[in-house]
Amino acid sequence: MDQWLGVMVMTALLLLLVGLPALWIYAHSDYVQRSRLAPEQPIQFSHRHHVAEVGLDCRYCHSAVETGASAGMPSSSLCLTCHSQLYADNDLFEPLRRSYAEGQPIRWQRVYRLPDYVYFNHSIHVAKGFGCVECHGRVDQMALVQLNQPLTMEWCLDCHNDPGPHLRPQDKILDPGWEKVAHPELKEYYQIRKQGLTDCSVCHR
């Protein structure tokens, strides 16, 4: 019996030493965090094609990014501005045509999702020199959009504690290819608040 007790104690210790860190790593893994994972979408929409190859401005589809909390998703009718002419007969666009004909929205799978008690505002981040790439990564290189960042509170606070290194000049905010160089004067330029960026109520209300 003593032998089994020893085995049990050893296993328990092993669990503590190996299991818990393993669990921690698992919980923060790409798999659980869904980062670098691209979910199946109803339409195989390629940002790479639209941004890098066609050269669309981000704001053509995400038109509220400078004014609203949400950046805005393009309506079906907006897609049809071009796709009523281009590849209009392609089977790929069947869900789009059906959506418009039936008046039902396209059901995109969310890639970026914040909990209900977090209030994120796109417009203020864009206005204060924060580029799209900081959170969304090089969407101009993604065939299917994938989660690029962990979206944990720790990750948000990294910038809120010290926004300086993440800022970019005003004309580079939408530019995915801009090579980041330090611009110490930008913090002054954007008049970023010195106090209160890490108050709970900035994001939680």
Partner: protein
């Protein structure tokens, strides 16, 4: 398996099983869907504001409705509308509940079964043929010119009735008496700050003027609560007091016999009126003779009273018209009876006997009620927020009603229904445009009303006041509309049901109010049952002792009974009387009404300060965490009229659920701002108490998980996602302003077990809440946030433009709603801001300031009135 020694295999089995169970708990991040518009609306998902009008006592008040992504989410007063001037009340705030009420009728019903609208039209045609002979329409007061025209165009016999009928009978014709408030006001059973169609304008005027107010009244009213000298007397003695006053001006014979009004009160009022800036207000519950006398006296005093035509001028008496209908029903002349809105069977129970004699009865109503049960057809009515129409305000100002959302159910507006009966298939928009042809449409729609359309004052002829009424020896029963559900039409509205009534603080029901001495003589305490007998009718209600109820009188409120909760007192009312002689008897049994008066008590600390010189409070102390922003609030207790508009506005803005009667009885209501009542004999004080946002917050010290923290700009933040529900903070809060979600009151069914019995608070899935505020789950503490979502919105707006937040840019929901502008909010660090100036007033005091909590919310005391 576990018996005996634990074998190696068993151990490994258990281990792997446990590990798997552990893994199953770590499910990956949940996914959601993104559903963009098919065709995006012009405004996208941004907030939009529309001007419209909502009725109170049948008449329009201009409102601004906030709409987000096509859904109305908040209603506030329209500052440019003369009947609201930007203020609002509990009824306007709570109107959204009625729109999304899950008890609303979904489709037309024929004998209780779903049926097609067209079938109803065919059936009506079958009864009437081509003409309109035999078609009768019963409405309430109709203040919509378009609807009036549509009814007239139908060629039907039109009958009206109204249980509450705010029309003055001071002249030979029904009229609305309207006067700007004067520096001295004498009110006789009048309640300009409460039950008055224009109470929003009056409250704002009152707040700007702070008149010297003297009141004689037979039930406690908000107006009485603000009086310098207020006396409670039985209704007939109030009238005799008016005669006694008039006699001093030589306008009427002195009343015979003893007058119960104190001579000192009369002396004071006489002296005040002789200063030449007085106005008498006579309530519509007084006899026509008394109203006429008050009007005469006003004319003598040169008070600027306008006599405006009543909005429904054909209505000589609310009963005459109904008696006509009853006669026609009795004679079998009525082939088709259409009842537009209202609930006559509930409000006049005897009407039910006549209703069955009509060939076909149709009821147009938002919810099924007593009347619809007796009608062949029930037709769902659209809410004001989903229909086009127009509505006149008390002064006749023509206001536009515009929809904020497509009808949620298969409903029609009254205008549309009448058009369909005429064979007109056009929608409400086409109908109102047609009716408004020749009037400026775009401008009126944007503004919410048609400029200059108010009624012109009439030349008027007086009624003879005659002699004073003789005193009444019996106990008198006084009927009044309830301050929450009014005549019962709003009884399905949980926000109004759970809003504590200003004086009794009763929620979810009514009781018979009686004075202390009367209660003693009957040997009853709160909750003891009393049988009231008026004529042949009797009714049993629990007693509620109300210090301000005049002795020798009892007061009951309409609007309850059956599913509404409380007790129905309409059967006791004969015709349209406001009082009746009553026999009272104590009967066996006790039912304690639910009152919030004793909830959230401050351990007997005397906290309200009324003296002009308040205690010195070290306001800014050593703690000045922000040089740019320090949010603070000042509430002027002299201006506060105790109307609860702030409480309901906060509830709507901050997604605060109602908890239902059972939970409210346990003191678990969740209002973030409560209005405390203090009694000092013939003076009553109201004090709204939200979170005080203490700089030295006792709640923060005891939270084990840091769920309540201080922000740099002085907010006492509540972080719901950290809260584990220990409730230590609520215990340690000296102001008792923290509220706990004992259950999943929103009924989202995610984690919380359903309360028993189910609360069924009237919302259905997908109801709009404020998208800017977290919906709290079970087991979480919550409290006033100073509307942090509005601060955030203003800060983001200002930061984008690289400027400071301007004074007045952040308006909290309670501040926006307050009809008397008692609440000021802003930045204390800006010495020029309104709130900083208010705070430097010598009346400023901090609640329990001696505890050194350094509250950011302070109060301006209501001075003891001395001349």
């Amino acid at each position: 398996m576990l018996t005996g020694a634990l074998g190696r295999r068993t151990f490994l089995q258990l281990l792997s099983g446990g590990a798997l169970a552990l893994m199953a708990g770590c499910s990956p991040r949940p996914r959601g869907e993104l559903l963009p518009y098919v065709v995006a609306p012009e405004a996208g998902e941004e907030q939009q504001i529309f001007a419209t009008a909502l009725p109170y006592l049948g008449m329009a008040r201009g409102m601004l409705v906030e709409s987000v992504a096509g859904r109305p989410i908040k209603i506030d007063g329209n500052p440019s509308h003369p009947a609201s001037l930007g203020g609002s009340d509990i009824y306007a705030q709570a109107a959204l509940f009625d729109l999304f009420d899950e008890k609303r009728l979904r489709m037309p019903l024929r004998s209780g079964r779903p049926a097609a609208f067209r079938q109803m039209l065919d059936e009506v045609k079958g009864w009437l043929g081509a003409g309109a002979e035999g078609l009768h329409i019963l409405t309430r007061t109709v203040a919509s010119p378009a609807l009036q025209a549509a009814i007239s165009a139908l060629g039907a016999r039109w009958h009206r009735y109204d249980p509450i009928w705010p029309v003055s009978l001071a002249c030979r014709r029904p009229a609305h008496l309207r006067a700007p408030l004067q520096p001295c006001l004498v009110a006789f059973d009048a309640d300009p700050l409460g039950m008055h169609p224009e109470h929003l304008r009056l409250a704002r005027e009152w707040s700007a003027l702070r008149p010297r107010l003297y009141v004689l009244e037979s039930t406690p009213t908000l107006t009485g609560g603000r009086a310098r000298q207020r006396h409670g007397l039985p209704p007939v003695e109030v009238e005799r007091g008016l005669w006694a006053l008039a006699a001093r001006f030589g306008m009427a014979p002195a009343p015979e016999g003893e007058v119960r009004v104190e001579p000192a009160w009369l002396d004071r009022v006489e002296a005040e009126l002789k200063r030449g800036d007085g106005l008498l207000l006579a309530g519509e519950t007084l006899s026509p003779q008394a109203q006429a006398l008050a009007l005469r006296l006003n004319r003598r005093l040169n008070a600027p009273v306008d006599v405006l035509p009543a909005l429904d001028q054909h209505l000589l008496s609310p009963n005459e018209s109904l008696h006509e209908l009853e006669g026609a029903l009795q004679a079998g002349e009525v082939k088709v009876l259409l009842i537009l809105e209202g609930n006559p069977v509930y409000e006049r129970p005897q009407f039910a006997n006549y209703l069955s004699r009509a060939g076909l009865t149709l009821h147009h109503s938002r919810v099924a009620n007593e009347t619809s049960q007796l009608c062949h057809w029930v037709l769902p009515a659209s809410h004001e927020l989903e229909s086009w129409g127009d509505l006149r305000a008390y002064d006749g100002l023509l206001s536009l009603v515009q929809p904020l959302i497509q009808p949620l159910h298969q409903s029609t507006s009254g205008l549309e229904l009448l058009a369909r009966l005429k064979g007109d298939e056009r929608d409400g928009y086409a109908l109102i445009r047609d009716f408004w042809r020749g009037r400026p449409w775009d401008e009126s729609l944007r503004r919410g009303f048609l400029e200059g359309s108010h009624s012109r004052p009439l030349e008027w002829s007086e009624r003879e006041p005659g002699a004073a009424p003789a005193p009444v020896p019996e106990t008198v029963l006084i009927f009044r509309p309830d301050a929450g559900v009014v005549d019962g039409q709003l009884a399905g509205n949980a926000w109004l049901q759970e809003c504590p009534r200003p004086f009794s603080k009763l929620v979810w029901g009514n009781a018979v109010q009686l004075g202390r001495a009367t209660a003693e003589s009957l040997g009853v305490a709160n909750g003891d049952l009393l049988e009231l007998k008026v004529g042949q009718q009797s009714c049993t209600l629990p007693a509620w002792v109300e210090a301000w109820q005049p002795e020798g009188t009892l007061a009951v409120h309409f609007g309850f009974g059956g599913e509404r909760g409380g007790y129905d007192v309409y059967p006791l009312r004969a015709e349209d009387a406001w009082q009746a002689a009553v026999g009272v008897r104590k009967v066996e049994g006790r039912v304690l009404p639910i009152s919030t008066q004793a909830h959230h008590q401050l351990d007997g600390r005397a906290i309200l300060q009324t003296e002009a010189a308040a205690v010195e409070v070290d306001l800014y102390g050593e703690k000045a965490p922000s040089e740019s922003e320090a949010w603070g609030m000042v509430i002027d207790l002299e201006a506060c009229i105790g109307c609860n508009a702030c409480t309901v506005a906060c509830q709507v803005e901050n997604n605060i659920p109602t908890v239902g009667p059972a939970e409210a009885a346990r003191g678990r209501e969740l209002h973030w701002i409560r209005v405390d009542r203090y009694d000092h004999g013939e003076r009553v004080d109201f004090q709204p108490v939200p979170c005080q946002h203490c700089e030295n917050a006792p709640c923060e010290k005891v939270c084990p998980v840091g769920a309540t923290m201080h922000s740099h700009d002085g907010l006492n933040q509540m972080v719901y996602n950290r809260c584990v529900g220990t409730r230590y903070c609520a215990n340690n809060c000296p102001y008792k302003v923290r509220r706990f979600n004992f259950f999943d009151y929103w009924g989202r069914g995610s984690k919380g077990e359903a309360p028993s019995p189910p609360l069924n608070l009237g919302w259905f899935e997908g109801e709009p809440k404020n998208p800017e505020v977290t919906v709290r789950d079970r087991g979480v503490m919550e409290k006033c946030t100073y509307c942090v979502q509005r601060i955030s919105a203003a800060r983001i707006g200002a930061d984008k433009e690289n400027r400071a937040i301007a004074d007045g840019e952040v308006v909290t929901a309670c501040q926006a709603a307050c009809p008397s502008q008692a609440i000021v909010f802003g930045n204390l660090a800006d010495s020029g801001s309104r709130v900083a100036r208010a705070r430097s007033d010598r009346r400023n005091f901090a609640l329990l300031g001696e505890l050194n909590t350094k509250p950011r919310t302070t109060y301006l005391s209501r001075p003891n009135e001395v001349d």
